[in-house]
Symmetry: C2
């Protein structure tokens, strides 16, 4: 799957991914009203509203980008109807030719990680049938439990030609609390990075591994170091835009070939219509505002890469 | 919620929790056949089978135990219909008077952890309504992202009188890979433990905190140390039974008052009918086999505690 992702990024010259992380407060009023009219002020109504919101954004941007990254927590907060919206969003994006990175940050002991891998990337056996539960192409994984929590994901990826991104250095302010702790002079995130490389050797694509990692845009120094430590690992970079990461800071997350990283923006794109810069589009044209924000983001990042 | 849990454990003299972690292969054939007859060999059929299986086990054991711990991965593998079975199981257990510990091991950056906390422990706002997505009393949380990934869970617990168990030292063979790494001579799991104590001070019950931790039964030496380091932290102990943890090894996870730990068994209880020891019950009486296995587990653990 990493080969497909790299090809799409190259073809579009767009090393970006859009985070479909809907809060109900992001959704234009008229979409919410219609959904609540039909399903009431209920979890079903909320699920319908975020699904319609996502669908309009995807319709407006799918031809510009290689991939989307729905954050499952934003759907899980609405219980089952929210997860139905997650599932519909994943399937719709795939129909539109997008690669779907499920930001699920799962991770557990072996047998349990196996169940997560099966549910999100693989097929589960039910009697004589093999069935997909959810249908992502990649998922994010938490490494705290070590190799036997990762291995089942790798096994399923091998069978299904899929991939994972493992948390190495996250974008949030307190990520350093444990991740930066030094073990014989080496920060924990580097130890994790070394393991990511090792795990990834078993799942190589043409140039890059199907085992990628997550390094936040908010820590450019660490990004630079990690890029060198793991040259064949694709880096999924959250934290651009709303969280404070800037394009000039991100050039060092890329290899000399201009590949090796994919930068995510969520709020910056999906709530563009609420930002001064794109206010002229108005609420009714929120999806067009998102399209313009994607164009600007791609220009911002490819521009910074061209200038380096 | 920790007060309620402690009271139930004391009243029943049963520091145990049953893991409702169904694999389809655990479910007796006649239950699967009935479910597949009704819903086909589909995700819905699988969801129905594990729900009926859970329900029968809960009916047979609910009066013996304070709590259950459904592992959400086992449901998530069947997609939406699996999660419907998870949700029904949680609600049914609560109706039966059981405390529900959702083993979800979530954890993300602040705003995203907030969505998980809302979805599993709190209420989400939809228009003028406040609604529950899922309905656990406690959930397990992964600490790798640090304080701002934990704080939103604590905020919701405060509002809702609920609690969390944070992973400190997990039961799996490779848990040491990162968790045992030494920072200035102190293993990472101890640093996490110190943070757990700090986070928990903000959420104290009468004696114990609503912020508990997870320490695997398979690492009794570490369990002993951690017990002393965090005297007011309840320890959720997975790994007893099928994973190899023995009752005699677990006495040091408890305080002198006989409290402070709750030991989980999943496969040991829910697949009792497949074990030689309980084979006499037969497949039809699988739930009675589970009941006997619960009685034996309680005896095993309280016996070891009495002998220390």
């Amino acid at each position: 799957m990493i080969n497909e992702l790299v090809k799409k990024i190259s073809d579009l010259n767009a090393p970006v991914v859009v985070g479909l992380d809907p809060m109900l407060s992001y959704v234009p009023e008229y979409i919410k009203e219609k959904a609540f009219d039909e399903f009431g002020e209920s979890l079903e109504g909320a699920g319908e509203a975020i699904w319609q919101y996502n669908k309009a954004i995807v319709d407006a941007i799918y031809d510009l980008i290689p991939a989307v990254k729905p954050q499952i927590a934003m759907y899980e907060q609405f219980g089952i109807p929210g997860l139905v919206a997650f599932s519909k969003t994943c399937e719709y994006c795939k129909k539109k030719g997008l690669i779907v990175i499920g930001d699920i940050k799962r991770g557990d002991i072996g047998s349990t990680s196996g169940a997560y891998a099966t549910g999100h990337l693989g097929k589960v056996q039910v009697g004589s049938k093999s069935l997909y539960g959810f249908t992502e192409d990649f998922v994010t994984v938490n490494p705290y439990l070590g190799t036997d929590g990762i291995k089942p994901f790798i096994d399923v990826c091998k069978e299904e030609n899929k991939g994972i991104f493992i948390l190495v250095k996250t974008s949030n302010p307190s990520s350093g609390e444990f991740q930066d702790q030094k073990i014989d002079g080496t920060p924990l995130y580097e130890l994790v990075a070394k393991k990511v490389v090792e795990w990834g050797e078993d799942l190589m694509g043409d140039v890059y591994s199907n085992v990628g990692c997550v390094v936040g845009a908010t820590y450019p120094e660490q990004g630079k170091t990690l890029r060198k430590l793991m040259p064949k690992t694709y880096i999924l970079v959250p934290g651009y835009g709303a969280q404070g990461g800037k394009a000039e800071d991100l050039v060092d997350y890329f290899n000399e070939d201009g590949l090796g990283a994919i930068v995510n923006s969520s709020r910056g794109i999906i709530t563009a219509y609420k930002q001064d810069k794109y206010a002229k589009f108005g609420e009714k044209n929120f999806a067009d505002a998102s399209r313009q924000a994607v164009i600007d983001m791609i220009e911002d990042i490819t521009g910074a890469l061209a200038r380096r």
